[in-house]
Symmetry: C3
């Protein structure tokens, strides 16, 4: 009967909504500020459709179609942009999927960030402002037109490999020309032993744009190492990332070298609360006479579980720019300028369904 | 099992579709007309996702994500625009929500309009053409980036308060400048005693645009009073609105004063039918030598319940413009000109799921 | 309870995703190519909402709201474009619906094409490249702002009639002017007797654009005949279409006459497999000194049912252009030029939910 017609698909999602007060210092004594309700402060608001079908012999078909929401506004509220959108098979061999995928670095960054990529997370802010692909925020953190394989767990070890085709028409390709325009290759390993998690991820990006106006199309390699240990009375987490941009602007002698790290600690407060604090630094050394970039950030978050599916949160984050960066608060549009600081405070609720 | 996976979210909606024939007289003996299928004639077509979670102690989390549809076309059919999109808490204290909200005046106008804001409703047409915020149609009738509180019923009395933050970055704000750009404040009271309903609503809008080309950014106050009584053999309903636009175009001596009223009557026809008729007038007096605006309208509607969730309807509405208004039929694009009249006939069906 | 809240609406859809390798020869020795993951290779990926309500006396209300997906990408993944979006009634009298509809020729073309309008189907490629309305691909294959009636089956015979209103404002219409701008009329008959299916469809399109740059607004008549017989060890299917474009570019002596046909055969391979092959030709004869157009295509497809709702497929299709056509592969953007050929290979999976 109709009452059982929904067994093939599950509708799910997250609504994360809260009050944000952000301030960004600007040139001279000027500043920009934002005060209001925002969506997606801790996690992106979303609605998704997913399901599986048993194919026999331990094999299953699976799909996910998940779309981002700007849940605080009318026009453009349902963005039409897929966070993930894939079809695949899962079984004893592991899982293989094709479509729009969250890259290995996306899941990685969330896992080793005690602040879970909230807008006030140091690594969230620094990696997103820098346009890195190992990042729990949007930007390069997802792959269109991609395939991925996730291995089963071998005594706690899981391997992930992904490839994004450069979705573009190749015009009259000849031997010797670039055969993988805008392609991405990714490889990750995760290891779990009791309360310990460690992991590593590697991304190779072809023909990307870049993080500042002086960079035109070039290649990039990124990798990251992460670890966390849950001592119960305290949870420790650390993340280290590097990125190398070669031949920036197609100039052979112009490379970038980026380092980013974060350390974080989470402390349970009673049975339902958790305080998390993190500190991170970003450094970008550049050739060819361009000014080096660096910035640092810290953030704090308190979460209180109201129920299995609902969390109340309060958080604060602060960005300190070096003399050549103008990194700014995520999601508010309040702009800073070189060497100036930005901060934001948030108070809200997150509900999963 | 999968069969019970949908308990966290309910998918719901309305499809309202029908044939519309509209005529709008234009300059001289010219006229524009429209004949075809339209969506949203009585109520806007929509799909939504909503759910609640019990948090204990009488408290619940609740969310609604509801999107408008142009259900008669292909491109742009799913508009991506949220009608409502909020997260909140409800309990003995009342209900508090944040996000994109239907303002108190939106629900108010629907409640005291016997035609329920159909496209042929007098108050629906007049308030929408005039760009009022106490209106059951779109325009200013919804609030982005907002918070609201709805009280429990105190012996039939309910209070609603809402605030929309002006979602914009404030640039270098200094003491003395406007500190609430584009903010909206709203307060409403509803009282129910048996078959009697009375209510009042007040909106304060900062820095809005305006209803004619001579108006630039200015402030507005709107209020409305409404009452209905259901005598069973007949239902009476009346609505009175005022709006004051101060310092129109930032000219201190240039104000607008708007009055709008409607009276309506509904008569049951058998067990499943209802005829509704309403008449309304709009008057806008203006300072600074600009021409006053006025218009009047009437409408009639017959609804027949085919089932608990499906209604067939037929309706007709007519707009008579004053010498300085060119109000026209809603939703068809057929344009009138100053002092000319417009009318539309509709026949359709509305289904809720 | 909430577990039974979903009885009014069913969420359903298709995810079709696979690897595509396409090549299109271009002027001289140049060629364009595409290699990557694509959505909608055999059937368009989609999510829909549908439901019915029993109105008593054998009558039901029914609705469908179905949206297309570009499931392999992020931005624009949920297109917002309705494939179908209608409300209607069904009962002993048949079915009557209004809204955005798949025209009779859309369903017809799928039914008599053994390749089911995959991107490598001859008739799919030829009709879509030619912009015909009797086509299982998008283009003119769907009707905005339309009504349709589908009869009950009279001993195997079903009649379908549809009309699309030209959804535009008519400006000052006078007697003698075109009173149905951009309207479409359609009529179809389907007959089933055991393993035999035969059908005919007729479309009349007013004021359409056209298939080449020399054609401005004009009228068109299209019809098609189709038949299939399932011998169990082999299934045969054939389709013949004609289109007549009158007074092309509003020039009385300039007409087009289009013929398109396809023959196809399907052979079961074991209990779960099926091989399908088809060959088709397109010919367009034109008046007024414009060059005639023609092209031919063939395609092959192997499908393997992994389960009741999941199919794996591999397919190949090739287009051979005549000296004045530059028809090209569907969905990849790789362009050919006059008289050059195009081909694509695909391997993927299709899952229904």
């Amino acid at each position: 009967t109709a009452a059982f017609a929904q067994t093939n698909v599950t509708v799910y999602g997250i609504v994360d909504m809260g009050y944000i007060n952000a301030k960004a210092n600007n040139a001279g004594t000027s500043k920009q500020s934002f005060s209001g309700i925002q969506s997606g402060n801790q996690m992106g608001s979303r609605v998704g459709f997913r399901g599986t079908e048993d194919l026999g012999n331990g094999l299953k078909a699976l799909f996910t179609l998940e779309y981002g929401l700007n849940a605080d506004v009318g026009a453009g509220s349902w963005t039409g942009t897929a966070r993930q959108s894939f079809l695949g098979l899962t079984g004893n061999f592991g899982t293989a999927v094709a479509g729009r995928l969250q890259n290995p670095g996306y899941n990685f960054a969330s896992k080793y960030d005690v602040l879970g990529a909230a807008v006030w997370s140091p690594v969230g802010q620094l990696s997103d402002n820098a346009g890195l692909s190992i990042s729990a925020r949007d930007g390069l953190g997802r792959l269109d037109n991609a395939v991925a394989y996730i291995s089963p767990s071998f005594s706690g070890l899981t391997i992930i490999a992904a490839h994004a085709f450069g979705e573009q028409v190749k015009n009259n390709p000849i031997r010797g020309a670039d055969t993988d325009p805008q392609a991405v290759w990714a490889l990750a390993a995760e290891y779990t032993l009791g309360d310990l998690n460690v992991g590593a991820v590697y991304h190779k990006l072809n023909d990307i744009g870049g993080t500042d106006s002086a960079q035109a199309e070039h290649d990039r390699a990124e990798y990251a190492l992460g670890a966390s240990y849950d001592f119960k009375v305290v949870k420790l987490s650390a993340l280290y990332q590097r990125a190398s941009d070669d031949n920036v602007g197609n100039v052979r002698s112009d490379d970038d070298s980026t380092k980013l790290w974060q350390v974080g600690v989470g402390v349970p407060v009673g049975a339902k609360g958790m305080v998390e604090v993190a500190y991170g630094r970003y450094k970008n050394d550049r050739d060819n006479g361009r000014a080096d970039l660096d910035a640092k950030a810290w953030g704090v978050n308190y979460e209180h579980s109201l129920s299995p599916r609902t969390v109340a949160y309060v958080g604060y984050g602060r960005l300190n720019n070096g003399s050549n960066t103008a990194f700014t608060n995520l999601n508010t549009g309040a702009l800073t300028s070189n060497g100036k600081n930005a901060a934001q405070f948030g108070l809200g609720m997150r509900h999963s369904f």
